[in-house]
Symmetry: C3
Subunit: 318 residues, 3 copies
């Protein structure tokens, strides 16, 4: 592993190695506090659009491993980009400053791959527009696999805005890579209003990989058989024109929201995930249910998956 650009670059072996590394780092942090693997290493966080959550978890991942960070969180406004500098030039300038790796967040699909083309140091994609967000997919899958030590048969329901959601698309692709060559039987349910249904490219990839899926619009019915419920935000601004308007949006959102009432039908050992932030599609009353795992478990796993990636890239012997 050198660059981390796409969920598709992984296979079952590399995924499992990362998860084992994340497990080990959790244990080492409990035993020793601050680790020292990245002593003297400098990781640059180049954020062309703000993302406090992702930047913070990458920044802390570096520090908890003993390394240091430098960052800009609005490179699109602040840096030379505003004067017309190309991304490729920016990367070449930054790596001339002898940094050890660069984490990039950009609003355009393909930006991380473009950066990697001119880079002599490892590039980590922290989200490139509607493209990929591979570390999010990894932390999601890590949370699923950790929650079900034997996970031969799982029904994963993805709910909300499946049409525009970058995270649900990446998760499907990572699951395809994870299951390839295994005997495990997982299946997906895509639960959303028809206007926000999962796009056909993903459906075709699942079919090609022999992974069954169902399309659903009835949340209560869906919850009965779900092992992993992955909820996402219905972004108001992306709501189809035809049913535009707050009333329409609110009504759709309410139909697909998880609350104390409809989750009563869920399996007792199911888990509830959300890439966050949420704005109402999971009621706060759900938070105290032991099946709710979006925080602290899922978010903390984001920290450890990023630590595992950084350690693997920058300190492969450990």
């Amino acid at each position: 592993m050198h660059h981390i650009l796409s969920a598709s670059q992984f296979n079952r072996a590399t995924i499992l190695t990362l998860f084992t590394t994340a497990d080990r780092l959790k244990q080492e942090r409990r035993d020793h506090g601050v680790l020292n693997y990245l002593h003297g290493k400098l990781v640059y966080l180049l954020f062309y659009e703000p993302s406090t959550r992702t930047r913070t978890s990458f920044g802390l991942a570096v520090r908890y491993l003993g390394g240091r960070t430098e960052f800009t969180e609005a490179a699109g406004i602040f840096s030379s980009a505003a004067k017309g500098e190309t991304l490729e030039d920016t990367i070449q300038v930054l790596q001339s400053y002898e940094i050890d790796a660069l984490v990039i967040r950009h609003k355009e699909r393909g930006a991380a791959a473009a950066a990697a083309k001119v880079a002599t140091i490892p590039i980590i994609n922290a989200g490139d527009g509607d493209g990929e967000h591979p570390t999010q997919a990894l932390l999601d899958l890590y949370t699923i696999v950790s929650a079900f030590p034997t996970h031969n048969n799982l029904t994963i329901t993805l709910c909300g805005d499946l049409k525009h959601g970058r995270t649900v698309r990446s998760l499907c692709r990572l699951v395809i890579k994870y299951l390839a060559g295994s005997t495990e039987n997982w299946n997906f349910i895509f639960c959303s209003p028809p206007e926000l249904a999962m796009q056909t490219d993903i459906l075709e990839e699942l079919t090609a990989a022999n992974i069954p899926y169902k399309i659903a619009t009835d949340l209560a019915q869906t919850l009965l058989t779900t092992d992993v419920f992955y909820q996402t935000r219905v972004q108001r601004e992306r709501f189809p024109d035809a049913i535009q308007g707050d009333a329409a949006w609110s009504s759709v959102q309410a139909s697909f929201a998880l609350n104390a009432q409809n989750m009563a039908t869920m399996k007792p050992n199911a888990i509830i995930l959300h890439p966050l932030p949420r704005v109402g599609e999971i009621s706060p009353e759900v938070d105290t249910d032991p099946r709710a795992r979006y925080f602290p478990e899922q978010t903390r796993n984001g920290l450890y998956i990023r630590m595992a990636i950084l350690l693997t890239i920058l300190h492969p012997k450990k």
Copy 2:
């Protein structure tokens, strides 16, 4: 002490312990340079509105104690808040990243207390709108007490915009806590244009605590008996409509400004404080007078009070 939310949570004993700790840390810094008490600790600075001064002094306080920080300085624009995430969710996400304490600055009163409700880690209020700014009050009182080793009788004049000023209100409340049960006799003079007079809630609290006060509008007269002169900024935008206009504002500001001429009547051992920034209500000619203590003494005390708070919360054994 776990959370630091309000000046009212302290009593004379906890205040004096903090001041002793601040004194000790000054000495230890002189003797040893960087201290190591917070080795391995990570303090997150969550600033919903920019405040370079407060963020810097908290950030340096952490580092001078050997700890590390991560921050965002415009969480209101940059973070998930812009997507509708609640403050409570933001806190839960950040603490899942295994941070050790969180310093919060927010434009709404009560935000720090709301954060503390869901927090499993200590929350420090670095200013919540027109609510509280307890570390400012502590550094102000620390500067007063340090300047008058025997301080049985003090006349403290608060001057400027007493109606809207968060710092003068917090200082009054902290003094009430500090004097409770002691035999010291302090009194206040509130010197301001009538439109910007101290609000009655504070006056009533002082009366209930048996602390005398006077209302004044004549600065020169007031200065004659003052031991501690605490000047504040008259914010142009808050100036009452009735006398709106630059001329009116300038005239009022001039009447309550401290300069070489009117400070000639001050006691030789009086001290002059200001929470800063200033924009003219203390003339620069005053800066070199030994009675002027706003910098470096008062501002540096802000650093040490914050170090004392962080040490007490995160490393109570030391």
Copy 3:
């Protein structure tokens, strides 16, 4: 050396000492990784306008020497400046926080000098409007001197917007200081559209220093005799009104752009520099030519010159 405010404060001896220190630090980094000279030192980066490149290279310079930084990158918007605080007050507050040095970037000429007047700690000018940017001139000269170990006779061509460019003006002034008292013969060619010609103050200073120069408008002709080609950006917004318009600007920019075709006439051991960012005045096809030194060599030299300055100021014994 205490403050670093202007290229004019240096002489040949102080310049050569800095270059030797930069050379030595390169070697020490290769041998030892992170150095420890600034252990316990805190350098504040006070940026009133964003400049990711300059802030990053200063920030990394501090860290690679073992020190720590605190920064604000939009002090003009975020800090107390927005409330009317003077620069002098801001400096006094920050130094009361016991920082060890302050790097300042400001949009007004003279800001760094004004800061130095009230400062008890070293001030480093990281660009003050159309005034000076001394560390840029030092890194440019360091790159030139390093590329030509024997540099008795050099023709330096400065190209592009010579009228408004801060870097070309500072470089001329530093070269004057560097050559004073030496037997080396350098000469300048100023190659630009007449509307953007080098201003007469610099021309007069060169004449007074006995350094020959020529004015040119034909790039191809100029390249034949050039040892150091220093290209700069023609800023669209500064283009003279008379020939305003994208077509006019593009045509002028094209006439002075370096590309594979016209650089074929350059000497084989010439070098090409650029302060960056570029927006087309050097074609990307030039990047792979060994004569192109803008990255990584010139930019990396910026890092080491800043390390040398910080070491000299903060740790003069080493």
